[in-house]
Symmetry: C2
Subunit: 383 residues, 2 copies
């Protein structure tokens, strides 16, 4: 039995007590005035974080449901689309597009590397470009602004998987010109999984008006119609809406720029600590995600055994590799409700476990490697 | 400000304190052993209530997502299907089938009436028959067993919307021979909205193997594959899984036959009380739903004003009419976490409000009409 588990995967992220309590409010009529007020506050709050005036539609689903809505509302069978694939979630987007009958042009990058904007130029015959903002599987943040610039220059539509990024790093939907952006409640938003949200630009609405892929549950236009009257076409995950409302309030209390700075700082501290322990970082320098840090094992370390020991002895749960990196790397999540002290605890346990496994004696080098990144400020009062 | 609201719509239903607390457990890794154990208990518990050995697949969505999965996994564009339409939810099923390119044969019944098995005989050229078990909009429970018998005699596939019925009235999937049955967490299961579950028979799997409608998020086979390994293809609504686990435990403590008897009893009590107050019941006798009771206003009563007064003065929230019955009827929900005492409170407030609106003086006839149905037993300890 684990006395206290530290969940450090790249989502679902731990929940603040305030959010848990908010999620426990009594059920309400999803066609009544209380829900209309809740929905309005949630949509407005999410849009402020997206930095967009575009419409935002909400679905009761995981983030992948939101991604599928982008495919189902933008694609007609036989359409050619570009999918930027540099990891597991890029693969998922491509799999969805193929399932809906699109002819998928794959723009691939090596795992651990970002998608190159220059490479995108070469394949831009297609109407819609699917881009993963933060590729959680490889811990790489793609150069979104540069990629979208290429898409716009060619007059194409960008659909961005921001599931794990938005709320933890800037996206600036309107300034950058992202047509469709998708996120989900269980990431930086500090709520449980169950809600996806999708921003839709004017140009995306136009394309959706002629796209022929079948859709009902994930139909944007129907959702927008109901939202205008303060409800949703289908029964929404009310308790997750309450949780998201509270998570948004906490983000605003902290200040969204402070939220971003905290994520960047904790990513740097984690990376510094892991490198000091001798772990080769997986993501290309300059493209490291602020929400998750991935590394390869040093020679002699079995990743699965290491993760098991961390879980069983230290109560620390970190992610493993995904897809072709299964069993070959690990990923430490630091998104949402996470502080400098949490990173200290993570690095301490990880270095201790290396000693337990006779890889290297504990001498505190992990913490030392992180120290210069950690904040000397107080943690935010809201947390 | 309402001191204490009584939510008496046909779902979302009120949450027991035990369920609320369970839903507040810390987040866990959805790819780890804790979630695998949670998923197994939930799937097994739901299958016991469905009374089926068929596979059960779980989706993070509202009930309509589960319904859409039935369409997306059973239909190919151009297929002819039969949709039994006798209310708003039958319409929804038909709308989904049409959205996925099916040619929909509509078997209609008047609102308030059940779908007639004899009528179904006449249109059974089609491969899949979509049936609404409990038509929440008209408060009618269709004669499911007789309808499915017709479907089976013709060798067709039955797909049943049991969203609001299963868990509150018997379905007996295997004995009756229902191929696909769908329910959702926010109904009799006493959990918040966010999860749909779908049972799939061998014959339905065969058909799904050749069905060509596009699907990814709602794909049954992919979901089954992940569930076999103790997880889900996409991040599940973990907190709702915990809630559902606790709701299932409460249902098993009470005894599922006792759960059904309680719903039937409270439906009869509600109907008896409303009739005694002078409200004409909407659903045909013999087909009244055990989870929701609908009635028409007596002459001179404005339904919208009546519902508003109930909400604002008595904190009692009841449903209005849906679709073409909007503003023309009301619906009192009594599903899930509801006791004899709750029905007493509902009827008291509804009769008091009639006096407030100068329709008829309060003399306690509502309660008197309900009294012979109410239990003389203690309420279940589990509640």
């Amino acid at each position: 039995m684990i006395f206290q588990q530290q969940l450090r995967i790249p989502g679902p992220a731990p929940l603040p007590e305030r959010v848990v309590r908010a999620a426990g409010k009594p059920m309400i009529d999803h066609r009544g005035p209380e829900f209309a007020a809740l929905l309005r506050e949630v949509l407005d709050g999410v849009k402020r974080v997206f930095e967009t005036e575009n419409d935002l539609v909400l679905f009761t689903s995981s983030g992948s449901g939101g991604l599928e809505s982008a495919v189902a509302n933008l694609v007609s069978p036989g359409d050619e689309v570009v999918c930027c694939v540099a990891g597991n979630f890029g693969e998922r987007f491509a799999g969805m597009a193929a399932a809906y009958g699109a002819r998928v042009v794959r723009l691939e990058a090596e795992w651990g590397q970002p998608v190159e904007p220059a490479d995108l130029e070469a394949v831009l015959e297609a109407g819609v470009v699917f881009i993963t903002h933060n590729e959680t599987s490889t811990t790489v943040a793609n150069p979104l602004e540069a990629l979208v610039r290429v898409v716009r220059r060619h007059g194409r539509i960008s659909a961005v998987d921001g599931v794990s990024s938005i709320g933890s790093m800037p996206i600036e939907v309107d300034r950058v010109g992202v047509d469709v952006a998708v996120s989900a409640s269980q990431k930086g938003w500090m709520a449980p999984p169950g809600l996806a949200f999708v921003s839709v630009s004017e140009r995306a609405w136009e394309r959706a008006g002629t796209a022929l892929a079948p859709r009902f549950y994930f139909d944007w236009a129907e959702t927008k119609k109901f939202q205008r009257d303060g409800s949703t076409p289908f029964t929404p995950a009310i308790s997750i809406c309450y949780a998201l409302q509270e998570g948004l309030r906490m983000m605003e209390e902290e200040g969204i720029q402070n939220v971003y700075a905290r994520h960047r700082r904790l990513a740097d501290a984690t990376a510094g600590g892991l490198e000091a322990m001798g772990f080769p970082l997986f993501a290309a320098e300059g493209y490291r995600s602020p929400v998750v840090t991935g590394a390869l094992p040093m020679p002699g370390l079995d990743v699965n055994a290491y993760r098991r020991l961390l879980r069983e002895k230290y109560g620390l749960v970190i992610g493993g590799g995904q897809g072709k990196m299964t069993g070959k790397m690990f990923r430490v999540g630091h998104l949402g409700y996470v502080t400098d002290g949490d990173v200290v605890q993570i690095l301490w346990a990880m270095e201790r476990a290396l000693e337990d496994m006779d890889i290297a004696p504990y001498d505190g080098r992990g913490l030392a490697g992180a120290a210069r990144h950690l904040s000397e400020e107080a943690v935010p009062a809201a947390l």
